[in-house]
């Protein structure tokens, strides 16, 4: 080895400034100020503790075990490690809606999306527009049918002193509408899988 090569070897920087690895462990600090993650740097299989960063201080999604993460080492010092991004992989493919250039916020499987202040757990589900539209359309149709029935057909019949009785046909028509409304209540209000409320997106009323 000539002198130049020797000097080059001596002064060769071995600092790692950016690495990629999989997350193996998560730990939120007692103060809830930071999330620390253990990252197994690849391909060398070296584990480091890094502080997690997010899209914004209040736009936060925790990574999951085995997520692929980009780790930055400020000043090249191994103890100044920050996870600056997690990356998509075959396990976490790009959301379908985003593949056409749209913006998409997808919660992890089994997780929820919240919109609200950082100090509040949002419990108010978002209303689903199409379902609400469908429910309102059905409701209006039933109301319209009721009004049309009142305008068009025989309502009462017979007389017994001052009393008159609803016509059996009218009772039958009204009962059908009533049953429809009960079905609609079940569909649009009572049943979680069909009602007008989102099951994954929540907000809060706010101040």
């Amino acid at each position: 080895m000539n002198e130049l090569e020797l000097l080059r070897e001596i002064f060769k920087s071995t600092d790692l400034h950016i690495g990629v690895g999989t997350i193996t462990q998560l730990g939120i600090s007692q103060s809830k100020a930071v999330l620390r993650v253990m990252v197994n740097l690849l391909p060398e299989n070296r584990q480091v503790v890094a502080q997690m960063t997010f899209a914004d201080v209040y736009s936060v999604t925790f990574p999951e075990i085995n997520d692929l993460a980009i780790v930055l080492f400020s000043d090249g010092h191994p103890d100044n490690a920050w996870v600056v991004k997690v990356c998509n992989s075959k396990e976490e493919p790009i959301p379908l809606f985003a593949t056409t250039g749209n913006t998409m916020i997808s919660p992890r499987l089994g997780k929820l999306v919240g919109v609200g202040r950082a100090t509040v757990t949002p419990t108010e589900p978002f209303v689903l527009g199409n379902v609400l539209l469908s429910g309102l359309t059905n409701l209006i149709a039933r109301l319209d049918a009721t009004l049309s029935r009142l305008q068009s057909g025989v309502i009462c019949w017979g007389s017994l002193g001052d009393l008159s009785y609803p016509h059996p046909l009218f009772i039958s028509d009204i009962s059908a509408i009533q049953e429809d409304l009960a079905d609609m209540k079940e569909q649009y209000i009572d049943t979680a899988s069909t009602n007008i409320l989102s099951q994954i997106a929540f907000t809060e009323r706010g101040a």
Binding site: G27, S29, Q30, S31, R36, M38, V49, D75, P78
Partner: protein, 507 residues
């Protein structure tokens, strides 16, 4: 000058070459061979680098070709044999592991290490085998940390280092010692948000060696460490990692006395006047949880006891108030004098000396940062004054209660073959040059003496007041010890200033 009969022997722990490509060296048996050395040199370097040694053996004593040796451990024995022949007329040969005369509880083993290179040299005048190698530090320097996981720091640092060494079979036997009895800090406690999951662990770099990791851990603890040796109760020599501070806290009576003109040759002393004379130290640590940079400035925020012992003037006006804490106190910063055009000092201006700054990760405790800063300050201060000397004596004496030349023979005898890194020495000059002026006990009489010899009054007064005021105490930085069959024993030592303000000069 005393007569000594130095001898050196080398114990070679050889793993022979078995000429099989696939064999496992771990399964091979080790062979111990003891040979008399023609020439042995042990170089004890500064604490961050490995000590080295070289051994020259007559080929007839060790007729082994380098091709026969796969690996080789070495223990070096050096001893003053006191006489050449025994009473029965036989040669008085060094016995490896034998007790030394000065301290029978220690053996004559002085160094332990591994051979890096073996060579044989044949010419018309001699046939020799050369070994060159390094001490056990080399094991830690060469070995990259391969455990690939962060190092837990939730135990006192000596325990954490011992655990780290235990994780690698070759280093598991290394002892860790704390000779000054310092409180061993638990580094995890200083992490921001200590106690949280994943906090309090040290990451490692991809190419970091065990030695770099240990040095880094020690710097965060405000300590330094170096590899030394330690004799166990059965006199076995084992590698020993010493955790200590740059500053020597030993009593002056343990200093080994060296006097130019008595037991010192080739004395050199130099001071880097312009370079490190005035400086401040600043140690910073960023706390991402608090979004805060913690700063410790030394000497301003040094511990009171440390600063006073160092010679800084304590400023009692700052001991109370919101910024003062029981554990820290304040001193003035180190300043650089501002000169007027006529050369005199402008006392109306204060120019603070530059801050030499160090960044330390994961320290959220101000007191700990101050301790780190103090250690750094001590390391920098020592570089102000340094020098070297040679001695051919094998034994020396420690100082007794005083430092005068007459006390040379009253101290405890010390075996220089067992001198250690960081040993404090008392270095005096006995040339007679200062004999005349030393007779006068007061600065006034000394000034008068100088005036009579042609110095102007101002210069005479200045010299009379400062002459001899320098401290004779130094600390060994590194040294080289040689035993040669022909020329005997030689110790070449490099020393630097020790932090000591106790000297009162000639007054």
């Amino acid at each position: 000058m005393s007569y000594t009969y130095p001898q050196a022997a080398v114990e070679l722990r050889i793993l022979p070459e078995d000429f099989k490509l696939s064999s496992d060296p771990v399964l091979q048996s080790q062979h111990r061979i003891i040979v008399q050395a023609r020439n042995v040199t042990v170089n004890v370097n500064d604490y961050k680098t490995s000590d080295t040694f070289s051994v020259e053996i007559d080929y007839k004593s060790f007729p082994f070709d380098p091709r026969l040796i796969r690996a080789c451990g070495v223990v070096i024995y050096i001893q003053d044999m006191e006489h050449l022949y025994n009473d029965d007329g036989s040669l008085n040969k060094i016995v490896p592991g034998a007790s030394t005369r000065i301290n029978p509880s220690v053996s004559n083993a002085v160094a332990i290490g591994f051979v890096d290179e073996e060579s044989i040299e044949f010419d018309d005048s001699k046939r020799t085998v050369h070994f060159e190698g390094r001490d056990t530090t080399a094991l830690l320097i060469d070995q990259k940390y391969t455990a690939n996981k962060p190092i837990p720091l939730n135990t006192p640092i000596d325990v954490a280092i011992k655990n780290l060494l235990a994780s690698f079979a070759a280093t598991a036997a290394i002892e860790v010692s704390n000779p000054l009895g310092l409180e061993m800090p638990t580094l995890a406690k200083y992490y921001p948000d200590f106690g949280s999951p994943l906090a309090g662990q040290k990451n490692t770099g991809s190419h970091e060696s065990y030695w770099e990791i240990i040095q880094d851990m020690c710097s965060r603890a405000g300590l330094i460490c170096y590899m030394s040796t330690k004799q166990l109760s059965d006199k076995t020599l084992v590698p020993n990692l010493v955790l200590t501070t740059p500053r020597n806290r030993k009593d002056t009576k343990d200093d080994i006395k060296f006097i130019y003109g008595v037991n010192v040759k080739n004395l050199k002393l130099k001071r880097k006047i312009g370079r490190f004379k005035n400086f401040n130290i600043q140690v910073r640590s960023f706390n991402p949880i608090e979004k805060d940079v913690l700063i410790a400035r030394i000497p301003e925020e040094a511990e009171r006891s440390w600063g006073i012992a160092y010679g800084f003037e304590y400023n009692p006006a700052i001991t109370s108030g919101p910024t003062a804490t029981p554990s820290t106190t304040n001193f003035a910063s180190v300043n650089i004098p501002v000169l007027k055009p006529d050369g005199s000092v402008d006392t109306s201006q204060v120019h603070v000396a530059p801050y030499i700054t160090f960044n330390i990760p994961n320290i959220s405790d101000k007191d700990q940062l101050i301790r780190i800063g103090q250690t750094v300050y001590e390391q920098y201060s020592m570089q102000q004054l340094e020098g070297s000397f040679d001695t051919f004596e094998m034994s020396g004496r420690t100082t007794s209660s005083g430092t005068g030349l007459s006390k040379y023979n009253t101290g405890k005898e010390y075996d220089l073959a067992h001198i250690v890194k960081q040993q404090t020495i008392c270095l005096e000059i006995d040339t007679g040059d200062l004999a005349s002026i030393s007779r006068f006990s007061s600065p006034g009489l000394r000034a008068q003496y100088l005036e009579q010899r042609g110095y102007d009054r101002e210069t005479a007064n200045m010299f009379a007041n400062i002459i001899g005021k320098f401290s004779p105490r130094f600390q060994l930085k590194s040294y080289s010890m040689t035993v040669n069959q022909d020329s005997g024993f030689k110790l070449s030592a490099q020393f630097h200033s020790v932090i000591d303000i106790g000297n009162i000069g000639l007054v």
